[in-house]
């Protein structure tokens, strides 16, 4: 079976979808009943589509519906004046989950809060898993060749080159900052090695007005938006130029100028916040959405459930991007959940979802771009599960060889490397050369080393910044504590680190 996703730019008829679509036909019928302006439309639907027949028959020889599921589901169908712009929103059905019945009286429906539901005398449990896992959308094969011409959003040379450059820059940045931590120059770091395509391609697919709420392994999004290597370094060193004023550990970047919320260590807390941000954008009628990231581990948190449910109920324009990289520190996904990954959870919340090859930059770009358009134009949340692998350790405090095979890490690092894969495609197009490569890598490396040296030399934050911003205005108790601390430091400076001006 083939997932039709289409592109956002062209109009193409969908392939006919399987006719054992009882569940979806019923829900589409509900939607029709809700949207229909008159009962006539509903009755004509029933007649033309033989839906009553579909409800009671199990066999596949029912007449092919005049209208496809996609058409039934979208408002396009009900308002003939609009175009088939939203074809990319075609939704794949899950026939395994469908309950079918074969009794005449099952054409009746039961009325419960929540709407009408058909009934069956056959006791049938929905299986815990589908017979087939949800397939993964990809555009490029492992050798960087486009698989099929038809189902992705084309990327220009300029955009592709920029994407590649940023992916490579992210690699160099990760490498050098990681080493800086090992040398004791910064206290902590965590890399995004293996997830460069997710980082950069998703950022490239968004508009600068989209508000990003990261987890912590998405600095590439900030890099794409224009955060400089110096700014990254300043935060890692917590120096006077750090916008965060030295209050948080390294990699806890944030920039209101770039619409990138400050990273916080607790997992998944950003998800319900993203629903609120999306709702705010909706109320302001902005052409923008909230985009929030989470790892596979984070989807076990209560805030994942809260965030998705709120976004769905509030019809908030939010794109949830889950980086399923296989590991939550040392916990493999087999110990994290028993579902087919995260993509199947979307439907449980009434959220459209897709699984994408997270190591395929073109696939990530197309999926995020499409999801973003859906979120904004349809004012709804969308869930993307990007499959990938965490090549690096969880952080500089972790040694992942203690819980996984070195061979496994090596395999993903070399054969499944997203940067190399995209590089091949860019090179094949004649847009990138080895000369470009070495120039980029050496100049980026140089720039980073300079940024680190400069960040190290920067003044430290003044001591008063310890007490600012707890509230909008410093409160009395904080004023008193500041006075007390300053007196103490002046009295016994040898007990305190130097450089923090009073």
């Amino acid at each position: 079976m083939h997932i039709r996703q289409g592109t956002t730019c062209t109009c193409r008829p969908s392939n006919p979808l399987p006719t054992n679509i009882v569940k979806d036909a019923t829900s589409f019928l509900h939607m029709a009943m809700l949207f229909a302006r008159s009962r006539n439309l509903v009755s004509s639907l029933r007649q033309n589509l033989g839906l009553s027949a579909i409800l009671i028959k199990r066999n596949h020889s029912s007449p092919r519906p005049v209208f496809t599921n996609y058409q039934l589901s979208s408002r396009v169908f009900l308002d003939p004046s609009t175009s088939f712009r939203h074809e990319s929103t075609a939704v794949e059905t899950q026939p395994d989950l469908v309950q079918q019945s074969d009794h005449e009286d099952d054409a009746q429906e039961l009325d419960f809060p929540g709407g009408k539901v058909g009934y069956t005398s056959e006791m049938k449990f929905i299986p815990e898993s589908s017979s087939r896992r949800i397939p993964c959308y990809r555009v490029l094969n492992e050798h960087g060749k486009i698989i099929s011409d038809r189902d992705f959003i084309p990327v220009s040379e300029k955009l592709a080159v920029r994407m590649y450059e940023q992916m490579a820059t992210l690699q160099v940045m990760d490498h050098i900052f990681y080493e800086a931590q090992r040398q004791g120059r910064i206290s902590f770091y965590l890399t995004s090695v293996g997830e460069e395509a997710i980082n950069i391609a998703s950022a490239a697919a968004l508009s600068p007005e989209d508000v990003v709420l990261p987890q912590y392994r998405e600095p590439g999004v900030l890099l794409w938006r224009g955060f400089t290597l110096e700014e990254f370094a300043n935060q890692c060193f917590g120096n006077k130029a750090d916008y965060g004023k030295g209050r948080q550990m390294p990699i806890h970047y944030g920039s209101n100028q770039h619409n990138y919320f400050t990273v916080s260590s607790p997992i998944a807390t950003q998800l319900p916040q993203a629903a609120g941000v999306g709702y705010a954008l909706k109320m302001e009628k902005k052409n923008a959405c909230a985009v929030t990231f989470i790892g596979d581990g984070g989807t076990s948190e209560g805030d994942f459930h809260a965030g998705l449910n709120f976004a769905a109920v509030m019809e908030a324009p939010v794109v949830f991007i889950c980086r399923n990289n296989g590991w939550a520190i040392s916990t493999h996904i087999s110990e994290q959940f028993r579902s087919d990954g995260i993509v199947v959870k979307g439907q449980a919340y009434g959220i459209r979802s897709i699984r994408v090859d997270g190591n395929d930059a073109l696939a990530v770009y197309s999926a995020v771009r499409s999801a973003r358009e859906m979120a904004v134009t349809e004012q709804r949340p969308v869930l993307i599960e990007a499959m990938t692998y965490r090549v690096g350790h969880h952080s500089t405090s972790d040694d992942s060889t203690k819980y996984r095979e070195a061979d496994e890490i090596q395999y993903w690092k070399m054969s499944r490397n997203p940067v190399n894969r995209f590089k091949k495609w860019v090179e094949d197009n004649g847009w990138w050369s080895e000369e470009d490569e070495s120039k980029l890598r050496s100049s980026t490396r140089k720039q980073l080393l300079q940024a680190i040296q400069a960040a190290e030399k920067w003044e430290k934050q003044p001591l008063t910044e310890l007490f600012n911003d707890v509230y909008d205005v410093k409160t009395k108790n904080l004023e008193e504590q500041e006075v007390g601390l300053k007196a103490l430091v002046e009295k016994q400076p040898q007990d305190y680190p130097t450089g923090f001006h009073i």
Binding site: V211, L213, D242, Y243, G244, K245, R247, Q248, H252, G254, S255, N256, F261, T262, S264, P266, T269, L271, P272, Q273, A274, A275, G276, V277, G278, Y279, A280, L281, M283, E284, A290, G302, D303, H305, A306, G307, N309, F310, V313, M314, N468, D469, V470, Y471, D472, T475, K476, N477
Partner: protein, 371 residues
């Protein structure tokens, strides 16, 4: 029956300036119109004004659409629309998280937690996110527009999960404010201040007073400042500090003590975080004695913070140990509520109040006599 009797003394009908007491709010009335309102109506009025004066403000939580389980949100959805006043799914962490997101985008989010007893799923969002949002971002972001309202405290029959006073947990969190009104007039002014304060505020409403407390409340838009305690009854022999519904109990204790010739100074703290130490300090330096009372269990309660601070500041002026008359160290019980509660008898029996002679040193805390 016992609970009814026990409750009788807590009914607050404000007659005006009887007993020289200023239990009523002292916001200037002047020529503005006032209306006799109970607590939930006063809060409702404040919410109407808040939504009216800021088109970017929202009220949401479980069941707020039809008016809320305590009727605090009556009429809001009809007047301001379901886009701004709406029910949420049953998920406190989602309610507060969603509110943080809205507030971070510059809106005012006035969220309701149905009972303070259910606020804990949101504790992570409040402590780790809301409280630190501004500080951790270097003031690039803030969620000051967030106000979390929750009914708290004993109600006569609430048991473990409809009676809790969790204020102490939140007073330990730099970055948020904790506000507790004592009466309808105070509640309206304090709630408007809390909503408009540029910091996230947790606003606990004494549910016992939702109907029981009736007061003349000005109809206009007014605010009562945060972090300013109020001396609501002047006296010279002992200072009593409390907040919320407990002040009505303490006032009865003051009246009883007065018959014994003890002059009590009663202070409403109003804001627990950050709290007005100066007012309490000035009072204790005058009277030399302090009694703190709250419904929450005594161990680790906010009374301990007040006691420790006043001890530091007023040690040489104190004539007796600081007394705390609080709830017992048990989960809030149902049938035993009249025994659990820090009633006026317990306050009156406490060492500070029972014998105010300035020459006598008290070794026994009155409260321990009751255990």
């Amino acid at each position: 029956m016992a609970s009814l009797l026990g409750r009788f003394c807590r009914k607050l009908v404000v007659p005006g300036s009887a007993h020289g007491s200023r239990m009523t709010s002292t916001t200037a009335c002047g020529s503005e119109t006032v209306k006799s309102l109970n607590l939930y109506s006063a809060i409702n009025q404040a919410l109407h004004i808040a939504l009216e004066t800021d088109p970017r403000s929202y009220v949401f939580g479980e069941d707020v659409g039809f008016g809320g389980v305590f009727r605090c949100t009556t009429g809001l959805a009809e007047r301001f629309g379901k886009n701004r006043v709406f029910n949420t799914p049953l998920c406190e962490q989602g309610i507060v998280g969603f509110g943080i997101g809205l507030a971070a985008m510059g809106n005012r989010a006035v969220v309701e937690i149905q009972f303070a007893d259910y606020i804990y799923p949101a504790f992570d969002q409040i402590v780790n996110e809301a409280a630190k949002f501004r500080y951790r971002s270097g003031n690039q972001f803030n969620c000051g527009g967030l106000t979390i309202r929750a009914p708290y405290g004993a109600v006569g029959h609430g048991g473990h999960y409809h009676s809790q006073s969790p204020e102490a947990f939140f007073c330990h969190v730099p970055g948020i404010k904790v506000v507790i009104p004592r009466s309808p007039r105070e509640a309206k002014g304090l709630l408007l201040s809390s909503i408009r304060d540029p910091n996230p505020v947790v606003f606990f409403e004494p549910k016992w007073l939702y109907r029981q407390a009736v007061e003349e409340v000005p109809e206009h838009d007014y605010m009562i400042p945060l972090s300013q305690a109020e001396v609501i009854r002047e006296g010279s022999d002992i200072t009593l500090v409390g907040w919320g519904a407990q002040l009505t109990v303490m006032e009865q204790a003051c009246l009883d003590a007065e018959k014994e010739g003890i002059s009590c100074e009663l202070i409403d703290l109003k804001t627990l975080l950050p709290w007005d130490k100066e007012t309490v300090e000035a009072s204790v330096k005058k009277t030399g004695r302090l009694l703190i009372s709250h419904e929450a269990p005594i161990t680790g309660g906010f009374g301990a913070e007040i006691s420790a601070t006043i001890l530091e500041r007023c040690f040489l002026k104190l004539e007796a140990p600081v007394s705390r008359v609080c709830g017992l160290d048990t989960p809030f019980p149902l049938v035993f509520e009249p025994f659990y509660m820090p009633t006026k008898n317990k306050a009156s029996s406490s060492s500070s109040l029972s014998s105010p002679s300035k020459n006598t040193h008290f070794l026994i805390h009155g409260f321990s006599r009751l255990l």
